[in-house]
Each structure stands twice: as C-alpha cells, then as structure tokens.
Symmetry: C2
Subunit: 202 residues, 2 copies
C-alpha cells in the first residue's frame, strides 16, 4: 500500500468547484475531504474536526508561525487555512485527500506541497464564463469589466497546474477527475520500490 | 479537437500484453491499433494495411535508412517495424493509437517519439512471474536461471516508462490504462492553447 495523494481542485470563480466536489464525494466515497482550520465560531450543529478545526486567534497565528498551514487567508476578520498535519496523516494512511480551493490558495499550497496533484476546472466556453459573470444581476459595465479582468487573471494561472478539466457536464467532469487520480496512482515512481524489491530477491 | 496520443504498452515476456491489448480493443473501440510493416509474405486472409504493411526487403531497408520506422527488428530472416507515418497520420486526425511491443522495441520508440505515453505492464507478484517462467515445461535449472535473468533485466527497464499497471485482473488493468489515457488528455499543456485564445479574446 503506497501513500495517498493530495488532490487540489481549483479554478476561476463561478466555474462550479463546489458542485463537482460534492459529486465526487458521491462517486468516490473513499476519498477524504480536507478539513480547514478557522477562527470563526462554530454554527449550530457544526462539529470540530468535521466541519472545521476551530481555533482561537492565538492558536491560528501560532500555526502560521510554525508553518503548520498549507495555505491560509483572512476573510471579514476570521482566519481560514488548511492544516498540514491533517493532509499528512491522511496520505500516510494510504488515503487520498481532496482540497477544493480558489486559485490563489491553490498556489500557496503548491509552494508548500509541490508533490500534490493540481487540477484546474475550466468553464466549457468563454461565452459560458462571460454569461456567468454578466448575468448575475444588474451590474454596471465597469463591474463587469473588472470581473472579466479578474477571470482572465485567474485563467492565466492554469499554467501552474498539472491538469485541466472542463466542467461541461458534472458526471463527465467527475469521471475525468477520477481518471486523473487513478493515473496518478499508476505513475512509474510509485511502483519502482516494489519492483526494485523483486529484482533484489531474484 | 487536439491531437491524438501514441500509447506504448509494453512489459516483460509472459506478462499478458496481448490479452490486455485485445480487451482494450473491446472496451475502447475508438482507439486505433498500430499496424506494423514486415517483409514476411502475407498468410491467407491477411490484408495489406490491416494485418501488416507488406514490404520487400529493399523497401524495408529504405524505410530504415530514411528513419521512417519508430522501431524495427529482424526475426528469422524477416524484418518487422512500426511505420512512423501511420502513427503520425492517426494522431494528426485526433485519434489515439496504441502500440503493443516488447521492452526493447519500446525503448527504440521512446528515442524517436519521446512524447508517447509509455505504460509498463507488471505481473501481480514475483511468484507469479517465476511460475510463468518455470512452469512452462521441463526446463533445466540453467534455462530457468537464464529466463529469470532476462526477466530481471526487463523489469529494470520500468525506470524508463511513465506508468506501471499491474495485470492482476484483466478488466481492472484495462480500466487503469483507460484512466491513464483520459488523464493524459487532461494534461494542462493540452488545454493551454484554448485558454490562451480565450484570454486574448477578452
């Protein structure tokens, strides 16, 4: 039994990362979903270690200082981040772990965990991306232009990823992600130790 | 529609390359099978361009001289080889092509076509490999030793491949090869031109 893989699923805003990730959860129940650490207070029904790892501001800052997070960010006064230990424990137990995250966070992860498998989710077409950005409501031309500029900057980051999967249809996108996971498990490097053992035994 | 892929399926003698390849043919009817060139005379029912491309000795030697073959070898007075043109035409038409070949031939292909996807088929265990080699009949200890040495040399070549697939069960081996093909089609490099076009259009 080899080590598990860290699968990072990312892509531009509105591409459907969450939907694809939920579907993947159904078609691959063995995959573990990364649990984030946060300083925000738990909502009713949320459980520590299931929804989030709940931390105090001090604890979180210590995690940052000790490089215990693969990435982190601050939103409206609260910290959110990906604990390195949870990822490491999971893959050491031979299980794959998936992290769904926006593009900036994914690049932070790549710096700290380059051996991860980085998958970029793409919209089926530029028109689709445009319509998702423009048809949200009654945005001004200025707002639309700004959003398109952000989208373009996000698309440029594809260059830093290993794979690109078009989210044309949820099941086929899921199937392609599954295929990527299977293929990554079949990489030569992963089988080399076993084969070297055989060679030594002969 | 991007270019197709050249998939090279190889592995040690007796690992079951032919069986896996035939099964793949059934579960993936879109994949094209590489047709070899040969100087041997056609048998009854064989068709030029289907079973082999039939060539004279002179024609074959010219193909070698012009670097028209991705690999070639001589068996009992006849030449056999993989025409580069057939592979190129297929992948330019956007179709994947599979080449089932022993390990030495695969390494020749790798020199001439490094962009191929090189898959090494492995036996499920060393015991299985041993029994396939020793249980063939009434071979002498000397013959068995020689065969095991050959097998070890063949296994060492895994190092030069991209993927290793264990042939434990025909359908799961097939499924893993299919997953590798899907994953290779999802590599970032293949989607970059499309996304760069989008970026330029915005």
């Amino acid at each position: 039994m080899g080590k598990g893989l860290l699968i990072v699923l990312s892509g531009p805003s509105g591409v459907g990362k969450g939907t694809v990730c939920s579907a993947l959860r159904i078609c691959n129940p063995d995959i573990v979903y990364s649990v984030s650490a946060t300083t925000r207070t738990p909502r009713e029904g949320e459980q520590d270690g299931v929804n989030y790892f709940y931390k105090s501001q001090d604890q979180f800052r210590q995690m940052i200082e000790h490089d215990d997070l693969l990435e982190w960010a601050e939103y409206v006064g609260n910290y959110y981040g990906t604990p390195r230990s949870f990822v490491n424990e999971t893959i050491h137990n031979g299980k794959d772990i998936i992290l769904e995250i926006e593009v900036q966070g994914a690049l932070q992860v790549k710096e700290r965990f380059p051996q991860g498998v980085f998958i970029f989710l793409l919209p089926p077409s530029l028109e689709e991306l445009k319509s998702r950005i423009t048809n949200r409501g009654t945005e001004s031309d200025e707002t639309i232009r700004e959003r398109m500029n952000v989208a373009v900057e996000e698309l440029r980051l594809l260059e830093q990823y290993d794979y690109a999967v078009v989210n044309d249809e949820i099941n086929s996108a899921c199937g392609r992600i599954q295929a990527i996971i299977t293929a990554e498990h079949s990489k030569r490097e992963r089988m080399m130790p076993q084969v070297q053992k055989w060679i030594a035994e002969v």
